[in-house]
Amino acid sequence: MKNIIIAILLIAVSGPISAQSPWVKKKGEAYVKLSEWWTVFDQHYTDKGDIDPNVTTGIYNTFLYAEYGVSDRFTAVFNGAIFSRNVMNNLRSATTGDIIVEGEGLNTIGDLEFALRYGIFSQDSPWKLSATLSLGLPTGTVAGGKGQNLQTGDGEFNQQLSVSAGKSIGNQEFPAYFSLYAAVNNRTQGFSDEFRWGAELGFQPINKLWVTTRLQSVESLQNGDASDLNTASSIFANNSEFLSVGAELSYYLTDKLGLSVGAATAVRGEIIAAAPSYNVGVFLDLQ
């Protein structure tokens, strides 16, 4: 039952959105991105979808994301929080200024994900269709700090199977694409399984700049059998759900090297942070 918003947000807002791309690499091609992703929230969506306060909590993750074309059909994907920091603020009396509950931070490696994507259609096909198997390894810390309230991982091994489809829809003057995906995420340790879906629309308004907009949904299948008692972190309970929107700008400094900046936020949620997340990164597109 020690589900974590960290894991959900990582999966929802950062890495696996890219991992859900229907495009596969040609053999030998690669894409590597190092990014910093963070969210700071002092309120959260309750189990009924209302918004309640919580002590200010920050999650800061350094992600390494990599794709490599094993063949023209298979692309290997790695997405991992190679460094994760979870902090909670001091809680002080507004009357005296004294600390009531001391804040603290936790620095560890986060959860890692390995995936293999198979291109169902050939590279030459105008439509792209792929299937991806993702394995999430619980390498982060489930309960850290003096109060055991800090987390950098969800403590469960999950397996996600997804299907994604997409197509380039622009022209030379205005390149664009769209993609859709749906996934079933099988979770262990008593977590409820999840159904996920998402949509992505990307376009190139000016040379070297890509704008990507995303819609992402996670729905709990409410089949977790873990205890309702959850003494570990924050809003990180089982059966978290959300619908998020996000956008990312990617600018190619050279043919291979670029910078990215993005943001996303949940517009509906249950047991999840009610605050936007942000990311900045540098990437290498080795085609």
Partner: protein, 227 residues
Amino acid sequence: MKTKFPIFLSALILLSACVGDDFIEDFVEEEFQITSNVDSLQVASSIQLFTVFRNNIGQQEDVNVDWLSSDDDVIRVEQDGTVTAIAEGEVSIVARIQRPEQELSDTIHIVSTAIEVSEPDLQTTTGTIQTTTFYVLEGSFEYTETDSGVRIDIADDYEASSRLPGLYLYLSNNPNSIAGAHEVSEVTTFTGEHSYEVEGVGFSDYSYLLYYCKPFNVKVGDGKIQD
């Protein structure tokens, strides 16, 4: 130079991810009261009276107490709170303290009698639990003095959300803070009747039941223990 920017920005974000401060409004009015449950005393016997002072965040503080009897010929009171019945009659015993802004006092009435006085009955009172968030938390309770502390009997109309992680019950004198509060137990019952035996706590030591989410460090609800 451009390629160093994201690295610099990432480092900046990490370095800025320090522990900050959140503040909660925890001001309460100062309270002073005589806590001893005494209403009669046999002539020629003595008893010690006690008081409690709670400051503007609801925490107990030691203060110098000035004791007064309305009739020293009936019941005499020493400055340490010891009262001695001298003769039959009824008096008012006043305890008072000086604060920078005000004088606080409390008064009890004691009957001095020739007959033997029995031990006072164990005290009991009631209250109502209410949520202060969007999480479900409601019900009524009875708060009873025991030989070794207090017992909290939660009634069958009680209901609490089980979706909130790390819900704990405290006894507190500040409805918004666990500073100086007594942690009773983690909440493991979310519907219906149940009880908590709290050892070593006086009946008048606390004014509120406080339901608190530890992982969030946030209050979920409270219940005023009626006077």
